[in-house]
Symmetry: C2
Subunit: 160 residues, 2 copies
Amino acid sequence: MSAARPADHDHTHCIADALTRADALCAERGARLTALRRQVLELVWTSHRPRGAYAILEDLSQREGKSTAPLTVYRALEFLVEQGLVHRIESLNAYIGCAAPGAVHSGQFLVCEACGNAVEIDDPRIRAAIDTTAAERGFRVNRPTVEVRGMCTDCQEKSP
Amino acid sequence: MSAARPADHDHTHCIADALTRADALCAERGARLTALRRQVLELVWTSHRPRGAYAILEDLSQREGKSTAPLTVYRALEFLVEQGLVHRIESLNAYIGCAAPGAVHSGQFLVCEACGNAVEIDDPRIRAAIDTTAAERGFRVNRPTVEVRGMCTDCQEKSP
DNA sequence: CGGGGCGATGTTATAGAGTAACAGCATGTC
DNA sequence: GACATGCTGTTACTCTATAACATCGCCCCG
């Protein structure tokens, strides 16, 4: 997967793809992907590393040539998360573009502590195990969060 | 489990147990559970709801009769987390007492969005599923975090 | 075409979460 | 008793996030 090999891929494709899919999805749903929201989405996609809201805020301010308020970014992020275009990485207080918007989101991530990249996965076995144990305890699952900290393949090769 | 039935149990037992186990574990390890750290642990155990560092800070200041600095609490929490006596709930930026200190910690929680209680679980199937999918992708697992938002049994009964 | 309503954005202020750098104290060890 | 180490205190600061309220713009309906 390209996201796991940041050095090997043309990231402009990732960004363009994400924007195209977002346009299509929002049009389909009648959701308003405004210029501001679209720009924030683009800035979230700057890399495959989760980005903090204030990093996005800085970029946005620079682009606009005027200082923007945090709320502006947070509201855009809220919209994007609701639409499933962006995920929040809880353990980092940061945001990352969704790899497969429109599909079911289980919210599972492999977060490399060395390079900072986060790869979204959707492993049905993890989800099944969560559902099973929750059912056994009478707990109704709403939003399962799985964030696995560790080291990705590339970084393991680099550091023995 | 008592944690899932907060109304039914004498919580002073939970607190006393937690402190006793902490004393024993730290003595065994040669770790210094100072008066301050012990007090912070007690305040984390105020309930079965994850507590924010600043809530603990307020309580501590009140007890001491003087205002305490955030760092004081954070340092104590850091120690307690290292010793496995307290867990951090990433999705809430909050801390909760460990239900089974001394045992292996996989860091799995069922968090009720209605009452705020968080129950720690340690389901080997979830852990196995995570290990399997990580291995398949060549990802080395360091710290898996599983936080399932949803509704506990009690709250489901109360709200139809 | 005009008004009404609603959702999006702007503004200001504030709360909550966490860390850096440095000073001082206590506790055990030799 | 002197030292070393680790715990605690102090001050200041950064980052993350939200509240409350004003305004703008667009679409719909009459």
